[in-house]
């Protein structure tokens, strides 16, 4: 059935051909109606202060400028907070809270005019002291930007008392900019009554719709939000589009003309949120064999000036502070700190990676302390099967495949032999040192905001036998539309090209969740399948009614419909069903079963299942400059029964490199004034082709099948492989440790830029 492109086949991304031809349409490519205006933001050049005056007369006077928008021009509520915290104004009225905060918008005949005019504002701000980092914020008595979380299980005090060894340490973990190739953009077209139609680059059309309705002071039914595709999202368009959608919509209604807003790359990076930076303090107690007895840790995060998604992000850091390891006694706390920086937001992994990397640091600490191979310490601490299987949030791990997965990768990567060779190479004492590490990942799947775990789909079967499926998920490159179309094509036994997926729009499926938390195909695939089953049930009933009981077993296969002695094309069958007045449209729905979570007690079953993976990386470092190169990486990743292994492999490879970038060359650097100085690809360095491991062996665990009833027993794939990049970081650590004969844990902070690597080498040499 390969040619039908059903699930389990490697159908191409539905836009592949358009993309290579430059014909895939992104928001900025949509033809602009006559009269389209362009908006641009004017931003603060002070990190914290009181807004004394905002003189926009020169802006207004510039040729081609139509007008400006400030806090006073917002007809509804001046807040774009994703969690309705009331702390994220479109434009502030009094207090400026970060360098780069939007203060006003210019509306002009062209984007170039608007952008230049925005520079003409005379802004007076009385500066106040500012803080940039989480520890600084704690020291200055800044508040938590949202409520902290505590997870606790067992008797931590007794655990530490029993432990033969204790290690305490601190690790700084940098943030990350999404650096989606397509920056933020919103395009609003006014319509009659209170209506406005928006085209935006967003992972969360429903939220953009709700926020626009809120700032305009109109019901949600007046606002339509559309997105055909994004040029990358990675979490950066889960809530950060709100402000742009709001500004475009307000301006479009005010001047009754279409308004487009697209920040330049500098503004996109300076004025929209990014991954949270953390400083984690950890203490681990363990026995002679390296088995962990107790863990206590605090994760303090730079959250920026507003709550945004920092609550669930810092929660997820704690949910993943165990990674793959059983902590008999554990207490974990988060400190989501307010800082005078742009509000941090969702980014692939959503806090999870910052939990996982600290777990891995603790393992490394134990290994160096005991003089053991870190892989042995990892294995000694893996969750058990039927024992030692309860997480710090009291969920039992029921689908553990760590032993098989890691065992297989250990063998296929030839980890042990290579490690020996590397140690022997390093023993020669040259300038170039090598390192290797094999690290696991276990990642919980489901939104921890339980109500988000629902999805809808709308399926039409047209009377010519072609199908159109619409669902609440958005396409940002991850191949969601392709997977969902595969599910639908398979349900009706028709070729994939029979099924069309159109843009995501709030008009077709309401109240959708963000396409986030890796949940896209889990939720929307099931909702689409539900719609298919509804229509199929009607068709089966129709066939039985028309042709009698022999036709109760209707099969949709090979583009044909078979029942009893009937064998006709799907097209023919559908045409008949239409003539006989069968309803050929259905709205599907799905909600994830079994999950529940009580944040107050820190107990529950927040995750439906876990996805697993492991990677083994080998690097070489230059001990004179700290530069490095990844020589080889082997990956074995669990996607359950893959819906499309080409797409899944693409997610795994891409996530590995993005995770590696987070931990190596991607450095966010603020100056003393609070200005982010790495705000474009010239200064912020994401991996290039030449940073890819020279040898990159990526495999999916083909034997894996999700024990939970997910769509075709597949598993989510968006985020979990991001943490595979951690093996690169630990391999760099291994190479660094060689300069002190592996007697000391190198305690690298992230990202391990060449500078940090060299400084760690120097520290260990002394």
């Amino acid at each position: 059935m390969t040619k039908f492109g059903h699930t389990g086949t490697d159908a191409n991304h539905d836009s592949a051909i358009k993309q290579v031809m430059g014909r895939a349409e992104y928001t900025d490519d949509i033809p602009e109606p006559i009269g389209t205006l362009h908006a641009y933001l004017g931003c603060s050049k002070v990190a914290h202060g009181t807004l004394k005056s905002l003189d926009l007369s020169a802006v207004m006077a510039a040729k081609g400028v139509i007008g400006v928008l400030t806090a006073k021009d917002i007809p509804g509520i001046n807040d774009v907070s994703a969690v309705h915290a009331g702390d994220e104004p479109v434009f502030p009225e009094n207090t400026v809270e970060f360098y780069g905060q939007p203060l006003f918008a210019v509306i002009a005949e062209s984007r170039d005019i608007a952008r230049r005019a925005a520079e003409l504002a005379k802004i007076e701000i009385d500066a106040l002291p500012h803080v940039l980092g989480p520890l600084e914020a704690i020291a200055a008595g800044y508040p938590d930007v949202t409520a902290p979380l505590k997870l606790e299980r067992g008797d931590v005090k007794a655990g530490f008392e029993r432990a033969a060894h204790h290690i305490a340490g601190q690790m700084a973990i940098g943030g990350q900019d999404h650096m989606y190739l397509e920056g933020h953009i919103s395009f609003a077209i006014p319509a009659e009554d209170d209506d406005v139609v928006i085209y935006a680059s967003t992972q969360h059309p429903t939220e953009a719709q709700m926020i626009v309705a809120q700032v305009l002071g109109v019901p949600a039914h007046s606002v339509v939000v559309n997105v055909r595709r994004m040029g990358g999202g990675f979490g950066g368009k889960e809530s950060q589009m709100n402000l742009f959608a709001a500004v475009a919509a307000i301006a479009a209604k005010k001047w009754n003309r279409p308004v487009k807003i697209r920040p330049d790359r500098d503004q996109d990076m300076s004025s929209t949120g990014k991954r949270h930076d953390f400083v984690a303090d950890y203490e681990v107690g363990f026995d002679e064999r390296g088995r962990i007895e107790a863990v206590e840790g605090q994760w303090a995060a730079r959250c920026g000036f507003a709550a945004d998604l920092s609550g669930p992000v810092t929660d997820r850091a704690l949910f993943h502070a165990d990674n793959a390891y059983f902590y008999p006694h554990v207490r974990l706390t988060s400190r989501p700190m307010k800082t005078n920086t742009v509000s941090n937001t969702a980014f692939r992994g959503f806090g999870g990676p910052q939990g996982v990397i600290v777990a891995e640091r603790m393992i490394e600490e134990i290994a160096y302390k005991l003089g053991r191979d870190p892989l042995d310490i990892r294995k000694a601490n893996f969750y058990g099967v039927g024992e030692r299987d309860v997480t710090p949030y009291h969920q039992t791990v029921e689908d553990n495949i760590l032993e098989r997965l890691i065992g297989e990768l250990e063998e296929t990567s030839d980890y042990r032999n290579r490690r020996e060779e590397i140690v022997a190479h390093n023993a020669k004492g040259g300038i170039i040192r090598r390192g290797i590490a094999l690290t696991p990942v276990k990642f919980g799947i489901s939104f921890t905001a339980t109500w988000y775990n629902q999805a809808g789909a709308l399926l039409h079967v047209y009377k010519d036998g072609s199908l159109m499926i619409n669902h609440g998920g958005t396409e940002m490159g991850q191949g969601l539309n392709t997977k969902v179309a595969q599910v639908v094509a398979e349900a009706f036994g028709v070729p994939l090209e029979t099924v069309k997926i159109t843009r995501t729009t709030t008009e077709k499926v309401p109240n959708t969740s963000a396409t986030a938390a890796s949940s896209g195909s889990d939720l929307n695939g099931m909702a689409a399948l539900d719609a298919c089953e509804q229509i199929k049930a009607r068709l089966v009933a129709y066939a039985a009614e028309k042709w009698g009981k022999v036709c109760s077993d209707v099969q949709f296969v090979g583009g044909r419909v078979l029942c009893g002695d009937k064998d006709m094309s799907f097209k023919e069958f559908i045409a008949g069903a239409y003539m006989d007045r069968v309803q050929l449209s259905a709205a599907g729905f799905y909600k994830t079963p079994e999950i529940h979570w009580d944040r107050a007690t820190g107990k529950g079953q927040p995750f439906f299942y876990f996805a697993y993976g492991a990677s083994c990386s080998e690097v070489e470092i230059d001990t004179l400059t700290g530069e490095y190169r990844v020589l080889r990486a082997d990956v074995l990743h669990d996607v359950g029964r893959s819906l499309n292994s080409a797409i899944d492999r693409g997610q795994v490879e891409g996530a590995f490199i993005q995770g590696m970038g987070w931990l190596t060359t991607e450095e966010l650097w603020w100056d003393d004034k609070g200005q982010l100085r790495t705000h474009a690809p010239s200064t912020y360095k994401i991996p290039l082709a030449s940073d890819k491991p020279r040898e990159f062996n990526v495999r999916l665990a083909e034997w894996s099948e999700n024990p939970k009833r997910t769509i075709k027993r597949s598993k989510a794939v968006g985020e979990p492989p991001f943490m595979l990049g951690i093996s690169v970081f630990e391999a760099i650590g291994h190479a660094v440790a060689s300069v002190a004969d592996y007697t000391e844990c190198p305690r690298l902070d992230a990202p391990a830029t060449p500078e940090r690597v060299l400084m760690a080498v120097e520290r260990l040499k002394r």
Partner: protein, 486 residues
């Protein structure tokens, strides 16, 4: 110069374009996307770093029609006079279907979000035309100027390897139309001065080098633009006016790279790519360094002369050229002046360049025996990254003794600068580890570098010292001191 033309003329895909109204700061990207609605070319960064706007530009070089990848975001429209612009929309296979490179990208699942894809396809297209069966390193080099945030590049490598089997570059439409395009471009090359403007924003393209001197005599404050890889950002990022702008990229005389017997003379208008082959012949140690300057698109646009003329303390050519004893040729309407390259850099933002003068060429002595050469570029990311520390070493050894040392650094001071103390610590000393250890200590006296987002002062100082250790390890001790493939 008596004749002046008031219109920019070029070929866009298959079409003749004539534009009477062009401002100096109008970019090719905006022209394609806004004026022509050729929206396949994307804006990702508007600073020449992401490659989403990659297009091919064909121009008549002295050896014939030459197609190169460029970043449309920082390529000024006026500079395209007499060129053939090829955007993603023009690609097609010999049979009119997908181009082999496009098909290879589809087959390899090489696109996810797809926003970088047209630019990647254009870079792979240029690679395929030049090297249909590329090595891994050649693929890496071709993609230095293209960021992809989704795929991790693995499938793009697969596509680059697979394209050759899907089509022959000799059968490519651009190859088949070569004669015709050459003829059409020759017809456009009238050799006259071009003077155009839009809303007071003026662009002048002198008819030849003598005319350039005349133009500058009248407009001594004009912005001289060769490759626009720096000036482009003044416009797209800083929104600085550049009018009147004098474009020189079309002046083939300025692009000549000539070996004269005693020297290698690189015309100021020669791009990094144009200078690469000759430079590699004369100074093979510079090749790997050269290929780490920016990305391929920027090396196709940016010029050696521009890199020197703008006086940046972190330009990549000055440190290595100063070490080699380069001389600068400066020209104006009143004549030609020569000076050692290191004398050109006076202070931050201040160069020895008089009103009406322009950099005409840089001249390097040919390599002589007994000199040990090295060039180092230390960056946060290996490729397409602005230098944290760069160094050029030229150490002459006679009878085991260091007779002369010319060692220059970039990124360590307000200008590219020789390490006088370190050089002094070496000269007259034996070519031995101890001497370089002493120089590593002495270089601390030469520089007080700054801390910024690229590197801290502490790191820069340590690296500068360590580069002396590396030099000895490689050139004296014969140790392996380089990362694989670097």
């Amino acid at each position: 110069m008596t004749q002046t033309r008031h219109e920019i003329r070029f070929l866009l895909n298959g079409e003749d374009v004539r534009l009477p109204e062009v401002g100096a700061q109008d970019t090719l990207l905006d022209f394609l996307r806004i004026n022509r609605r050729l929206t396949g070319t994307k804006e990702g960064c508007a600073e020449g770093d992401c490659g989403a706007c990659t297009v091919l530009v064909g121009r008549l070089a002295e050896d014939g029609l030459r197609y190169e990848t460029v970043n449309a975001c920082i390529r000024f429209l006026a500079s395209l006079d007499g060129c053939h612009v090829v955007s993603i929309e023009h690609l097609r296979g010999a049979d009119g279907g997908l181009h082999p490179v496009q098909q290879a990208m589809v087959d390899a699942h090489g696109s996810q979000c797809g926003f970088c894809t047209p630019g990647i396809v254009m870079s792979l297209y240029a690679l395929w035309m030049e090297r249909p069966e590329p090595s891994e390193t050649e693929i890496e080099t071709a993609l230095q100027g293209n960021l992809c945030r989704c795929t991790g590049y693995e499938p793009i490598f697969k596509a680059a390897r697979a394209a050759a089997a899907l089509g022959d570059p000799a059968a490519d439409p651009l190859a088949l139309e070569r004669k015709d395009v050459t003829k059409r471009l020759e017809a456009l090359a009238d050799g006259v001065r071009v003077d155009v403007s839009r809303a007071g924003d003026r662009a002048i393209l002198p008819g030849n080098v003598a005319d350039l001197a005349d133009v500058l005599a009248v407009h001594p404050d004009a912005t001289i633009i060769a490759g626009a890889t720096d000036v482009g950002l003044w416009v797209t990022k800083m929104m600085k006016p550049i009018t009147p702008a004098v474009f020189i990229g079309h002046l083939v005389e300025l692009r000549r790279v000539v070996e004269t017997g005693a020297t290698l003379r690189i015309g100021a208008g020669a791009s990094y790519s144009e200078a690469e082959a000759a430079l590699g012949r004369v100074y093979p140690h510079l090749l790997p360094y050269w290929r780490r300057i920016a990305g391929w698109q920027v090396r196709n646009m940016g010029t050696v002369g521009g890199n020197i003329a703008n006086g940046s303390p972190i330009g990549d050519t000055p440190p290595v050229f100063i070490a080699l004893g380069a001389k600068l040729h400066l020209r104006s309407a009143s004549g030609v002046r020569e000076l050692p390259l290191e004398k050109y850099f006076i202070d931050y933002g201040k160069q020895d360049l008089r009103a009406g003068e322009f950099v005409e060429a840089v001249e390097l002595p040919l390599a002589s025996a007994g000199v040990h050469h090295a060039a180092y570029k230390v960056t946060k990311r290996r490729d397409e990254d602005i230098t944290a520390v760069a160094a050029g070493f030229a150490v002459t050894v006679r009878d085991g003794v260091i007779a002369e040392a010319r060692i220059a650094f970039g990124g360590m001071a307000a200008t590219p600068k020789r390490a006088a103390n370190a050089e002094a610590a070496l000269v007259g000393k034996p070519f031995a580890k101890e001497s370089f250890e002493a120089a590593a200590m002495a270089v601390a006296e030469d520089f007080a570098p700054l801390s910024d987002w690229r590197a801290s002062a502490e790191y820069r100082s340590l690296v500068a010292a360590n580069l002396f250790r590396r030099f000895w390890a490689e050139q004296g001790a014969g140790e392996v001191a380089k990362l694989e493939g670097v």
